[in-house]
C-alpha cells in the first residue's frame, strides 16, 4: 500500500514536472512546490513564515552525487523530487512583509542560503599556525 502511494505521488510529481520547462525561472518552480505557508509572528513589520517544501539542499546534493557536473535544472529537480518524495522539510524564515512576493523572495533567499551552507559543509578547514619553517 505504501509503495503504491509512493508510486502514485511519483507519477503525479513527474506529470507536474512534465508541464515545466526551463523557461520557467527556477525560483518560481521552487515556490510552486511549496505547501501553503503560515505566518507565525506578525508582531512587527517583518513577519516569520513557516512553509513545508522539498528539501532543495538535499535534493541538489543528491543530483550532484550522481553526477558532480550536472546542471541543476527544473527537470533535474523534478526528477529528484520524484525519486525522493519524502525529502521535504519545514522552512522557517523572515519576510519583509506579508505580501506574497516578499514571502516568495525570502523563501528563495532561504533556499540559496541553505545551498551555500551545504556547499561550505563540504569544505575542510585546515588551519595550522606556524611560521612555515
Amino acid at each position: 500500500m505504501k509503495k503504491l502511494l509512493i508510486i502514485l505521488i511519483a507519477i503525479v510529481l513527474t506529470l507536474t514536472g512534465c508541464g515545466k520547462n526551463d523557461d520557467t525561472p527556477i525560483d518560481d518552480y521552487c515556490w510552486e512546490q511549496a505547501d501553503d505557508y503560515a505566518i507565525s509572528d506578525e508582531s512587527s513589520k517583518a513577519v516569520t513564515i513557516t512553509v513545508t517544501a522539498p528539501d532543495y539542499a538535499q535534493l541538489v546534493q543528491n543530483i550532484l552525487s550522481e553526477d558532480s557536473s550536472a546542471s541543476i535544472t527544473i527537470d533535474a529537480l523534478s526528477e529528484a523530487i520524484s525519486v525522493s518524495p519524502d525529502s521535504v522539510k519545514e522552512y522557517t524564515f523572515i519576510s519583509d512583509s506579508s505580501d506574497e512576493d516578499d514571502i516568495k523572495a525570502a523563501f528563495t533567499d532561504q533556499i540559496a542560503k541553505e545551498l551555500a551552507v551545504a556547499a561550505i559543509s563540504r569544505t575542510d578547514s585546515k588551519e595550522e599556525w606556524s611560521d612555515g619553517q
Binding site: 521552487c30 561550505i120 569544505t123 606556524s130
Partner: protein
C-alpha cells in the same frame, strides 16, 4: 618636483621670521629607521606568520571551496535562484578595496595624533622641510607607477600655495599643514597599493582597482584644490582623514559626482564608511581597535551585512587581493638587503603589510561569521557553540594584532638618533646624540667597540682590540675623526641607566668624499631581539598583548615568576614600594609609575594581563605542588570538585553531598587556562541544569553527571556530560589537549593519533552507530512500529548527523566519540558516549571521595 620645491621655498620665505638662527646640516635618520626597522622585522618570524597563507582559516576555506566542482555547481544553482553571480564582481572588489584602504586611514589615527603633538613643537622651517620631504617621499613612492605621481606633485603645490593665506596665523597654519602631510602620506600609500593590485590582477579585480584608483585621484585633486579656499574660519574642515564625512559631503556637491559613475560609486561607498565611523567612534566615544571591532564593524559598513553568499564573495576577493600582496611582500623580503639602502622600498613593504593585515583580519571575521551563524557549520568546523566560535575569532585577532604591533614597532621604535654635521676625510666631524623626546643627550658614554677593514664588502682584518670610550657630560657636540675604508661599531650608554644602550655601526666608504652611512639600533630593538630568545623578557614585553601558556613559562624559576607577575602591574603604571622591583622596571621605557596601590583596580588590566596574571599565580602554586606527573587528575580543592556519574535519579542537596571539578595537572604544573575554561563552561551549565529542574519540578535534581579522562601518546581527552532529567537532551563538553603544551588541539590531531583521516573517522562513526542500532533493534523491534524505528535509525545514520560526532579518548586509550542517537520519544536525540564496538563507553571516573561524611 621643481614646482613643489619652489612652493615650499615660498612658504619658508613667508614664514622666515620663525626660522631659528643656527641650524646645521643634518642627516635625518627617519628613513634609515625604516630601513633598519624592516631588517629587524624580517629577522623575526612575524613576517612568516603573516605571509603564510595556511595560517589563515579563511584562505584554506576558499581554496578548498574552489577546488571542488560540486561546490561550484551549488554556487551556480544559487546564482540561478537569486542572480548573485558565482564570483565577486567589480562592485564587490571595489567595496573590499575601499574597506581595506579606509581601515588603514583610520588605523593611522594614533600615529597621527602623536605626530600632531610633535608638530606643535616644530618651527616653520622644520615644517617647510617636512612637507618638502613628505611630498618628495610620496612622489618617490609612486614614481614607479605612472603619471599619477606627477599629478600629485602638481596638486600638492596648489594646496601649499593655498596654505600661504594662513601663514599669518601660525597655529592654524601648522594644524592645516600637519593635516596635509598626513593626507599626502596616506594617499601615496593608497595609490601604491591600488597600483600594485591593478598591475598584478586581471578581470574584474583589475577593473575595480583601476576605477578606484582613478576615482581616488579625482577625489584627491578636488580635496587639494580646495586648499585654495582655506581660511582661518574654515581650516578645521581640512582634516587629516581622506575618509571624512565633511570631505565626502563636499564631493557629493561636485559636478563630477553626477557625471562620473565610478566616482559616484566610490563617493557613496566612502561616504557610508565616513558617516558610520564618525557616529560609532566619535559620538559613542569608542576607542579605535583594529582587531575585533574593525573586522566586524568597519568591514560590514563597507562591504555589507551578514549574508552568507555576500561573505563567500568577499572571501574570494580577499583571497585574490591577499595573494597579490603576499607575492609582492615575499619578493621584497627575499631580496631585501640594508646594504642597498632604500627607505622607499622599506616604506612600501610596511604599507603593503598593513593592507595584508587588513585582509587577514577581515577574512577570518568573514569565515567566523559564516560558521558561527549556522549550527550545522559550527559542528562541522568543531565549534560547540557560537561563543566558542567567537572565542576562536578573538584569539585569531590577537595573533594577527601581535604581528601588526611588531610592524608598528619596527616602523616607529627607533627614536633615539644620531646626527652629524657631515663628514670630511681627515677632518673632525660634529656628532649630536638625541634622546627619544628629541632633546640633545648630555650624560652618556660613547664607546667605539670595533673597527674593521672593509674589502669589497668583506671584512679582512680586525685591528681594533681596545674599545675607545668618551664620557660625555655636556650637550656640546662630540668631535670625531673616522678613517675611510673601515666599519666602526658604536655603543652609547646612558650614564643614568647603564642598561639603556643604543647600538649602531658606521661605515666610511673607501672612496668617500664626505658622506657616511649609518645603521643604528634603538634600545627597544635590543629588548625585542633579546625577547626572541629570553622567555622572561618576552613575557615582560608582551604580557599585555598576548596570551601565554604554561609551555612559554615552563622554565621560570621563583625569581622569574616574581618579575613576570609584577611586570603585568608595571605595564599599568603600578608604583612599587619594593625598591628592587622599582629599579628593575625603571629600565623599560614603557614603565610610567603613576598608580598607587590604593588607586589600583582590576579594571586597569586588559584581558591579556588578567589571564597572564592568573597563569603565573597558578604556575607558581604548581611549582610548589609535591606531586608532579603527567596525566593524573587531582582533587585537592574540595570546593570545586565533581567526579561522579549518577546513573539513577539523584536528589541534590548541599547538606548531603559536595561536588567536584578536578584540576588537570600537566608536567607538574597546573595549566590554569584549560582548567579555567573547563570550570567556566561546565559549572554554570551544571547550575543551570539544576535550576531548570528546580523551576520545573519544585526540587533540584540531576539525572547524570559524567566526567572521564583518557590518554594516548601526547593527547589527553576530558569529557563532561550532564542532563537534568532522564528525558531531556544532555549537554557535553569534550576537550582534547596536548600534554606537552596544555593547549587544546584540533580533532585532526586525534584522527592522526589513530591513523585515521577525517572521512575515515566519520565512516567509523557510521558503522559504530549501525552496530549500536543492530543491538537495540533486537529489544525494540517487537514493541515498536518498524517504520517509526527505521525513521530514527535513518536519521541517526544520516551523513549530517554522523558528522556531528565529536571524538575523544576513553580511559583505556581507545578512540570513542560523543554521537547523537535519535530516539522515538523524549528529546529528538540524546548524546551517547560510544566505543567503536557500538557499546556505551563506561570509561567514566568513579568518585572516591566519601561524600557521606559531608
Amino acid at each position: 618636483m621643481k614646482r613643489l620645491i619652489c612652493l615650499i621655498l615660498s612658504v619658508i620665505i613667508l614664514s622666515s621670521n620663525a626660522i631659528p638662527a643656527s641650524v646645521s646640516a643634518t642627516n635625518d635618520s627617519a628613513n634609515q629607521n625604516h630601513v633598519l626597522g624592516l631588517q629587524a622585522y624580517l629577522d623575526t618570524d612575524n613576517d612568516e606568520y603573516l605571509l603564510r597563507n595556511e595560517n589563515y582559516a579563511y584562505w584554506g576555506l576558499i581554496e578548498d571551496f574552489e577546488s571542488d566542482i560540486v561546490k561550484w555547481e551549488l554556487l551556480n544553482t544559487i546564482d540561478s535562484l537569486i542572480h548573485c553571480g558565482t564570483e565577486p564582481d567589480v562592485q564587490k572588489y571595489t567595496e573590499v578595496l575601499v574597506n581595506i584602504i579606509a581601515t588603514y586611514d583610520r588605523d593611522n589615527a594614533t600615529a597621527i595624533s602623536e605626530q600632531h603633538k610633535n608638530d606643535n613643537k616644530k618651527s616653520a622651517l622644520d615644517y617647510a622641510m617636512d612637507i618638502s620631504k613628505i611630498g618628495a617621499d610620496a612622489v618617490g613612492l609612486m614614481v614607479s607607477t605612472d603619471k599619477s605621481a606627477g599629478d600629485l606633485e602638481k596638486w600638492i603645490s596648489i594646496a601649499v600655495s593655498g596654505l600661504s593665506t594662513l601663514a599669518g596665523n601660525v597655529d592654524n597654519w601648522i594644524d592645516a599643514l600637519s593635516d596635509l602631510e598626513t593626507l599626502v602620506q596616506n594617499y601615496a600609500h593608497y595609490d601604491t597599493f591600488l597600483a600594485l593590485i591593478q598591475e598584478e590582477s586581471s578581470g574584474d579585480l583589475k577593473i575595480a582597482a583601476s576605477n578606484l584608483r582613478t576615482s581616488m585621484a579625482k577625489a584627491m585633486q578636488i580635496k587639494l584644490d580646495s586648499y585654495t579656499n582655506i581660511l582661518d574660519e574654515n581650516f578645521e574642515q581640512y582634516g587629516e582623514f581622506f575618509f571624512s564625512d565633511v570631505f565626502f559631503d563636499a564631493l557629493k556637491l561636485t559636478s563630477e559626482y553626477d557625471s562620473d559613475e565610478n566616482l559616484k560609486f566610490f563617493i557613496d561607498c566612502g561616504s557610508k564608511f565616513a558617516d558610520k565611523i564618525n557616529e560609532y567612534f566619535i559620538n559613542q566615544k569608542k576607542a579605535w581597535d583594529l582587531g575585533i571591532a574593525i573586522g566586524t564593524l568597519v568591514g560590514n559598513i563597507a562591504v555589507g551585512g551578514e549574508d552568507i553568499i555576500n561573505r563567500l564573495h568577499e572571501l574570494m576577493a580577499l583571497r585574490d587581493i591577499g595573494d597579490i600582496l603576499c607575492e609582492e611582500l615575499s619578493r621584497i623580503g627575499s631580496n631585501y638587503d640594508t646594504g642597498e639602502y632604500d627607505s622607499i622600498i622599506a616604506e612600501k613593504y610596511f604599507t603593503l603589510s598593513h593592507y595584508l593585515i587588513g585582509c587577514r583580519i577581515r577574512g577570518e571575521y568573514c569565515r567566523y561569521s559564516i560558521v558561527a551563524s549556522d549550527s550545522g557549520l559550527r559542528s562541522k568546523f568543531s565549534f560547540k557553540n557560537a561563543e566558542e566560535a567567537a572565542k576562536w575569532y578573538e584569539e585569531k585577532c590577537a595573533k594577527i594584532l601581535a604581528i601588526q604591533n611588531s610592524i608598528k614597532t619596527a616602523c616607529n621604535a627607533i627614536l633615539v638618533h644620531v646626527e652629524t654635521s657631515g663628514y670630511e676625510v681627515g677632518e673632525l666631524s660634529e656628532w649630536y646624540i638625541y634622546d627619544e623626546s628629541g632633546s640633545l643627550c648630555s650624560n652618556y658614554t660613547l664607546r667605539i667597540t670595533s673597527k674593521e677593514k672593509m674589502h669589497i664588502g668583506a671584512i679582512i682584518a680586525d685591528d681594533f682590540t681596545q674599545p675607545l670610550e668618551y664620557v660625555i657630560t655636556t650637550s656640546d657636540p662630540l668631535l670625531l675623526e673616522l678613517d675611510p675604508g673601515y666599519w666602526y661599531g658604536f655603543e652609547i650608554v646612558d650614564n643614568a641607566n647603564t642598561e639603556n644602550i643604543l647600538l649602531f655601526t658606521v661605515s666610511v666608504n673607501q672612496s668617500s668624499e664626505g658622506l657616511i652611512d649609518m645603521i643604528e639600533i634603538h634600545t627597544d630593538f635590543c629588548a625585542a631581539i633579546q625577547s626572541e630568545t629570553d622567555p622572561l623578557e618576552s613575557f615582560i614585553q608582551n604580557c599585555d598583548s598576548r596570551y601565554f601558556s604554561v609551555a612559554d613559562i615552563s622554565n621560570f624559576d621563583e625569581n622569574d615568576c616574581l618579575y613576570a607577575r609584577n611586570a603585568i602591574f608595571a605595564k599599568s603604571g603600578w608604583i612599587f614600594s619594593n625598591q628592587e622591583l622599582s629599579n628593575y622596571f625603571q629600565k623599560y621605557s614603557w614603565y610610567n609609575p603613576t598608580v598607587t596601590a590604593d588607586e589600583f583596580t582590576d579594571a586597569m588590566l586588559n584581558q591579556y594581563q588578567i589571564a597572564n596574571r592568573d597563569l603565573i599565580i597558578a604556575f607558581e602554586s604548581g611549582i610548589e605542588a609535591p606531586s608532579a606527573n603527567n596525566t593524573v587528575y587531582s582533587n585537592e580543592d574540595d570546593n570545586l570538585l565533581i567526579i561522579d556519574r549518577f546513573t539513577s535519579w539523584y536528589r541534590l542537596g548541599t547538606d548531603e553531598y559536595c561536588y567536584h571539578i578536578p584540576m588537570i595537572s600537566l608536567n607538574g604544573h597546573y595549566d590554569y587556562l584549560i582548567n579555567d575554561r573547563i570550570y567556566n563552561q561546565f559549572y554554570p551549565l551544571w547550575e543551570n541544569r539544576v535550576e531548570q529542574h528546580y523551576k520545573e519540578y519544585g526540587y533540584p535534581e540531576l539525572s547524570e553527571i559524567v566526567y572521564s579522562l583518557g590518554q594516548k601518546d601526547d593527547l589527553l581527552s576530558i569529557v563532561f556530560q550532564t542532563s537534568a532529567t532522564m528525558w531531556d537532551e544532555s549537554s557535553f563538553y569534550v576537550y582534547t589537549i596536548s600534554t606537552e603544551t596544555g593547549e587544546e588541539v584540533p580533532f585532526s590531531e586525534l584522527y592522526r593519533c589513530y591513523g585515521l583521516t577525517e572521512s575515515g573517522f566519520f565512516d567509523l562513526v557510521k558503522s559504530t552507530m549501525q552496530k549500536y542500532w543492530d543491538k537495540q533493534i533486537i529489544d525494540l523491534a517487537p514493541n515498536i512500529d518498524a517504520g517509526l524505528l527505521q525513521g530514527v535509525i535513518d536519521k541517526t545514520l544520516s551523513a549530517d548527523n554522523v558528522r556531528t560526532a565529536i571524538p575523544y579518548i576513553n580511559k583505556n586509550g581507545e578512540l570513542c566519540f560523543v554521537g547523537r542517537i535519535y530516539w522515538i520519544a523524549g528529546a529528538d536525540y540524546y548524546h551517547h558516549l560510544l566505543n567503536t564496538s557500538g557499546y556505551v563507553d563506561e570509561g567514566w571516573i568513579e568518585c572516591t571521595t566519601d561524600h557521606s561524611a559531608n
